[in-house]
Subunit: 684 residues, 2 copies
Amino acid sequence: MSADKEMILQFAPWESFVSPTFWHKLAELKLDHDRLSDSKRSIAGHYTNRNASGCLMEVDYTAYNRTAQPPKFSHSASGTIYNKNTIEEFKALDKLQLLADEGKELLANMSSGEVLRDPSLLTRFFVLSFADLKCHSYYYWFAFPCPLTPTLKLQGAVQRLRDLPYSQNYIEALKLLPAESQNFFILYANEEHKVFEARSLSCLNEKDVEHYYFAFADPSEYDHPAWLMRNYVAFLLQQCPSFVGKSVKFLGLRYNQQMQMDDSRVWQVIQTEACDLSQPGELKFVGWELNKNGKMGPRMVCMRDSMDPAKLAENSVNLNLKLMKWRLVPDLNLEVISQTKCLLFGAGTLGCAVARNLLSWGFKHITLLDNGKVGFSNPVRQNLYTHADAVAGNRMKATTAAQRLREINPSAVTAGHVLEIPMPGHTIGESLLAQTEDHLQVIQQQVQDHDAIFLLTDSRESRWLPTLLGAANQKIVINAALGFDSYLVMRHGSTREEAGDGGQQIDGLKCINGDQLGCYFCNDVTAPGNSLKDRTLDQQCTVTRPGVSNIAASYAVELLVALLQHPRKELAPAYYAQSGRGKSEEAAGKVPEGLLGILPHSIRGMLCNYENIVPATQKFAQCIACSAPVLNAYKKEGNAFLLKTFETAKYLEDLTGISEFKRLNSEIIDFDDDEFDMSEEDED
Amino acid sequence: MSADKEMILQFAPWESFVSPTFWHKLAELKLDHDRLSDSKRSIAGHYTNRNASGCLMEVDYTAYNRTAQPPKFSHSASGTIYNKNTIEEFKALDKLQLLADEGKELLANMSSGEVLRDPSLLTRFFVLSFADLKCHSYYYWFAFPCPLTPTLKLQGAVQRLRDLPYSQNYIEALKLLPAESQNFFILYANEEHKVFEARSLSCLNEKDVEHYYFAFADPSEYDHPAWLMRNYVAFLLQQCPSFVGKSVKFLGLRYNQQMQMDDSRVWQVIQTEACDLSQPGELKFVGWELNKNGKMGPRMVCMRDSMDPAKLAENSVNLNLKLMKWRLVPDLNLEVISQTKCLLFGAGTLGCAVARNLLSWGFKHITLLDNGKVGFSNPVRQNLYTHADAVAGNRMKATTAAQRLREINPSAVTAGHVLEIPMPGHTIGESLLAQTEDHLQVIQQQVQDHDAIFLLTDSRESRWLPTLLGAANQKIVINAALGFDSYLVMRHGSTREEAGDGGQQIDGLKCINGDQLGCYFCNDVTAPGNSLKDRTLDQQCTVTRPGVSNIAASYAVELLVALLQHPRKELAPAYYAQSGRGKSEEAAGKVPEGLLGILPHSIRGMLCNYENIVPATQKFAQCIACSAPVLNAYKKEGNAFLLKTFETAKYLEDLTGISEFKRLNSEIIDFDDDEFDMSEEDED
């Protein structure tokens, strides 16, 4: 370097130092708050002058909280983030203009006196960014704007604080200044340098300039000061025009690990040329950070590799869901979905498909109950299992499914219980009594511990106990059953007692409140018997078109999600156009919709003509699963009652008076559809 | 043993020896032929008297073919299998009665002279079985019926053939008898035992009894003869009543490994008590085999562990499909399904779900094309991937999906190709030209090599090339596209030229023949441009309710399956009720159904009201993807034409005259529905 060049004071440029948490928080804000808005946002950075190794401007997740205190031994910097919606916008933006705009703001802060109240405005910075949230990549470019002028000349050698006379006096004076004011301040020295006083910037008095050390927290590790001194100088020039031509002293405060400030530097400098900062429109600004190649250009960080994969997955999954909120359903309550605990009776074709749909929707708590092993015919239809599970020969469906769900989304909380569901009319031998009671205990506990129960088993009678327990524990119950090319998806009537308005009456529509809707057994006057015995092969297996189970499982989950979005949840009324065909079409158009559409009692569909109907039916006072006599008997007698029904299903018929009812052979049940012949056996 | 006891000739009982192939074949016959019938079926067993180690009655897959020859050195046995439909029927069947019935048949064969023509009837056996095809377990019980009487007394010691005088003469005589007659025959000896003659049973002459050796192939390895001699004796008693009280000789022929018969046994025996076999109703029969515990009872074999797992899986998967045929759709053509090769453009949410549905239906050939990597948001919706795939960071969707499909069904033939689908208006830079041409080459080859093409990508323009190639190669094309809570599934109009009747005209229904149906672009007057550029986040991702993709994927596969079952396949006409609502309902009931229901042109559905409509629309003569000008330009210019359209989509508009058409701004397109606003972006 030439001697002349040496005379010009150089500044150590800022280096941005971005914590991954800064990007996590940005992603969160983008998804939950900003959405499609790309308005700029205030942020705070911080830097330290203790044991500094480079002029690092750090930002982390606290950056977005303007009231957050900087870390100990650090000072705040005032920033702005411009987060663009697309990489094209990020690229297209006029960088010089943005820098100039920011620079003008900086000068405005100086001239308005705001810097006097908040000197951290002098360490102004901003970030231009694009968050590619799908790929977890963040494109960003930091800038630390300052006017190209002024230019200080160094007078004499750079001194260290420890080499100055009376250095201990300086140090003592500093101790009286609050830490939070030690970013920019003034050290007043009397003539003999024996008395020192630390004052805040607001005490600046132009006539005392020669008695001042213009002090600042200096993150530089070199002989020359950090970049932030440029703005300090500009500010002082603006505040004290007489500054030009005067020899002034700057003190760059630097602490070592032990908080000794002996290495602080003192520069005696002079601004020789006039420098008019009052016309910022004509000033040039500098400050874009170089990228890692030392070139003018943005940086990119891929958080994919540095993030906890489980967290990454969770964020990614949430992204898809939040996008629905952004663009289409701003009132969508994703919280209630992630908190609703789902219990699945059956981990077969329907169970697997329902569980996967639940994960897609962001449900986190899924428990499966099943007594089966994974067999060779299962994997092609039961979409949580593989051929290897069948080869292993001992993989239980419930536990395997639970594990697979975690392999899909590690943040899912899943469990599987291998157990038999006791069934009416399936007598329990003495030898199995203890095991049955154990299983009953688990089933009852699980029902209590969950919010929504799915009935996805392969026989009518295995649905009885879960139906009863769902009703007894006031749970949401969703039922899915399959025929060869037809399906039934329904919500059971609620037993939850909660005051609320009845559904709105609409011409041509039947309206049944959620607590008056029937269950799977309400349309059915026979107690379930042992239908599993003596079934030929075709009755033991699922004989369904494969599409049927996927469609039914999807509707089952969509129905639950739609219910959860309704203010009254499962108490939401169901509407059904009951009269003639032409009229019913017209009436159907009037069905009130929830956030995600209508909330039918049941969906019955057929693959052969791609038609669905959505009938609603009333609770049946003599239902063998959900009626008062049954619920009361269960509440009163508990397991003793259950064991009696397992012994003989006739017990249920007598209890509800159905035996008599059957004798009368009357027709008082409100059968709404005669078009569907739903098979009882629906799944293997 | 007492001396008295020693005098009674004992017989070595049969042991059943069942080859796994016997059960495989039974399963096949049950599934493909017998189905729910449990009629008895004739089978053949075989046994050997060469180097025999036990009286093994072997059955294998040839058992069901009565014209099959027994293996070398083996003899046929005549059998019957009673295969029951349920384990309960298997258990409940009256075993004594069945044995008696079989025994009577045996005696009837003897008295009718059938045994003379076919001595293998003397080695009669039968199997009572139940094939649990779901668990690959076979319950079975063999019986070798014979009347409890007669009871032979042994006279003198058992002799070996080699110990007899003139034993070489016996052996020479035997050599003249055809091997197939050597199960039961007569060896005539003159008085000096010097001359021997082997004769078939039909030459039996009662007066020569004392000159006979009643010879038989004897699988016994002990001093006493095999069980089959009991029936031989019974037969002889029936044929020669004078046999009683006479001393007769039996020769049990036994070969060693070198086909020497020196170890053959000769028993001199006498039936002392009269034995009336003419009243079989009063006879007792014996012959049920003991099980492995030495008890009277059936055996069970679990083929699961001994079968090739891949084969097991294949059988199991086919079982589910064949069950549909049995009970519900006897004409279902499963062959065409397993032979149809499917090509999937896109291995995202739709691609994965479609591939899984294809496997469920028994499709074997599935190829996927995709250019993407598995990302963290994918596994919860794209049901062939796991979190670990995303963590790995370099798993390509196409190849990963192909591998996963084989992990579900090892007999699936799958492939994945990682490539970009070139798109109209997506200019290809010089540097990518060679790669694009490579990809084009692969895409074209794949389309040619497959029968059905699925369009499951995430943008409108990426569907253009596959639409064109599907049409140019006369393939079946199925298209699925998603909106937030709506879906479109359609079959493209066929370009296959095949004579055939037009669809039946039905009042109130529009009928469009398969070759006149439109494609995805036929309703669309703009050439696809670069819609991927500058999309904000919500446009880049799938913003759909999760159920939508599963439902659409299921319909897409069910539509293909239904088409394949139609005699004219994709040329099948589509019907659509076009007029007012009330009327359309009525007309809809008249839509002709194929084997699996109606064959619509398209299915458009919404989750918000669970409704589907099935509109049909005509081909558009100026379609930018499937019209004659486009197909001709492609046929004539090939890749040169494609590259021009990639350069600018306007080229397509000019080619088809759409530019002009747009200027005229007329409304001549047959839009059938104004109810659905299908989003173009449908999948991530």
